[in-house]
Symmetry: C2
């Protein structure tokens, strides 16, 4: 059974047995071996300088074998997404348990996200272009990325839910996704950030969080209600 992504989705082009999840021990072992080798080489040499031949050789298999388990070199990255997302959740947990202030929770979760990404900055930048392509399965907006995406949005739902923040009733249901979008913006900035240790990104978070916090507070204010409603209605329009 040809497996597609780390989410365990079945490849529609090769529908054999119905039990797509039932991977044999032999296959799963090779799959993991190739994956670990690839992740190691990506970190060691960067994405572009790691060839499929090198991955296969180091893993002790044939090139074609790697393509039996992964549709393309790009698909090897999907594993990176899933891992990063899981690590983000773990790293954010203490903050979510400790803090109740909205701004503190948001800042903590954003910083935790960058903490997790930091060791992979160079690597992330080199494959970012792949993720940026709209038609790519690696796009954060793609159907194939829906697993990690939903999980990530859930994280920001928790940021809001566990906080003492008072939010405009109409805005509240939209806010988690908006916060996730803001997180995507931070990641985008981070990828482009050439400052040592990506210090600028930290400044962006520390500067933008109080701003978001204030805007959320002000969303209930009379002068801003029309603007708030405009934002909400724009979101509805765009979502169809």
């Amino acid at each position: 059974m040809r497996r597609d992504t780390v989410t365990g989705m079945t490849d529609q082009t090769v529908p054999t047995t119905a039990a797509g999840e039932a991977a044999t021990a032999r296959g799963e072992q090779t799959r993991q071996l190739i994956l670990e080798t690839a992740m190691r080489l990506f970190r060691e040499r960067g994405y572009a300088r790691t060839t499929m031949r090198a991955i296969a050789t180091e893993a002790g298999v044939a090139v074609g074998n790697a393509y039996y388990y992964f549709q393309s070199k790009e698909h090897l990255i999907q594993e990176f997404y899933a891992r990063t997302q899981t690590e983000h959740r773990t790293a954010a947990q203490p903050v979510l348990e400790r803090e109740s202030d909205f701004a503190a929770r948001l800042a903590g979760v954003l910083h935790a996200g960058i903490d997790v990404l930091t060791p992979s900055h160079e690597f992330a930048a080199s494959f970012f272009k792949t993720a940026a392509e709209p038609t790519s399965p690696l796009s954060p907006f793609s159907a194939e990325s829906s697993g990690p995406r939903e999980a990530s949005i859930g994280l920001y739902a928790d940021v809001l839910a566990g906080s003492t923040a008072k939010v405009d009733a109409e805005l509240r249901p939209q806010l988690p996704e908006l916060l996730w979008l803001a997180y995507m913006g931070v990641v985008l900035f981070w990828v482009y950030d050439r400052s040592p240790g990506q210090a600028r990104t930290r400044q962006l978070i520390d500067g933008a969080v109080p701003l978001v916090d204030q805007l959320v507070r002000l969303s209930r204010l009379r002068v801003l209600r029309p603007v708030t409603q405009q934002v909400v209605s724009l979101i509805h329009t765009l979502r169809h």
Copy 2:
């Protein structure tokens, strides 16, 4: 003399004569021929399906010759930037001459930008990933794109300068670049927009412009001054 970009920048790796601009008639002719052929094929077949061999063959030259004039296949796209920018300016001119209301000017210029891009939607999406890579010379933030970028920011400076809008004094000097950034956001949305005729992008513009307009107005309001100042100071911090 090996030419680098459409901006006429000299390739530092091959510094021969000082007069880098003095291209001979023969060379310039071949260069234009390759360029026209490439642009035609890109539009006909899309970026990915157009091979350098096909470009060379159709232009009646050798593959290596194309690489004499253009560092890479990607560099052929830089021409697309420059042309698009020029067309955008032209398409926006009537609006800038006619309207004095800020919101009308901004909406007009944004719509003009999408008007110009529309015929290239498929093509743009396919090479977008290239432009998205931070290290790519095609990134809108790169030094090599500074020409078109500055011109584009200038367009938004005109949007503001010719309008009757009253803007917070501290915010005003930052606004053109912020508007350009918003335009980049619109283009990003447009690239991902799968709705027929990219109707969603039009809705985004029509929905977001009044919002921006209101925020700009409110920037002078007492309750929002702190937020405005925060925004301005954040920009300053991030700019170094």
